[in-house]
Symmetry: C2
Amino acid sequence: MEQPGRFETQQFCSLVDDIPFAMVTTRAADGCLRSRPMVASTKAFNGQLWFVVRTTASVADEIRHDAQVNVTYVSAPEDRFISVSGTAVVVRDVARATDMWLSVYQAWFAGGPSDPELSLVRVDPTRVEYWDRKTGRMRGLAGS
Amino acid sequence: MEQPGRFETQQFCSLVDDIPFAMVTTRAADGCLRSRPMVASTKAFNGQLWFVVRTTASVADEIRHDAQVNVTYVSAPEDRFISVSGTAVVVRDVARATDMWLSVYQAWFAGGPSDPELSLVRVDPTRVEYWDRKTGRMRGLAGS
């Protein structure tokens, strides 16, 4: 079983739970940093962050090449900006895919959680920061 | 004078011009990827992207250490997600700071565009991608 994250997971969930997409940034083989949106859901959060990807997607290749990633959550109307630094791995885990399944995935993965093209990205957070409106600075989440 | 970007700047502006903040991702000295919001404005776009920063901010240190950055723009209600990969430099340029000045900066830089604490981050884009709703994939902007 996975360990719960070291940081304050309840505060993290309250910051991100109404944000449906995260931007996931990876480092490509040429050193260039690339981002793309991925479906976010607190169903897919247990101290680690989980995302559904196509096994052959460029994001999966980039993570296999360099595990350092950043995940951002933005809710602009409330000046809510969250940055998660972490390391990522690409895994096959049908049980977890079933647990975190959302109907939106069906359009990409007709075979459901056991679709042979489906992998999961697991992010182990090393640093979680959020925009503190009072000070106008990023602030580390307790425990991160 | 700066060269205009190689990619389609008009299309880029139409994608981002109503998005007031970008998330800027840098690589810290320990290899970890970090993001923070920065004020975005098409006044600060001429094929390169320009942001106002405090000279001593961690983002400036990280860029001096590793020039590869990513800039994302998110307008979630319309599924609009833009990723700019590029290289960045931190410069002092009072004339440009004056050109791109917004009243929101005054709260951070009481001295205005010539505030001694104020620097600019210039990003030279190498790859611009946006989320294409029709195909459900990131797509390179023409010319990038």
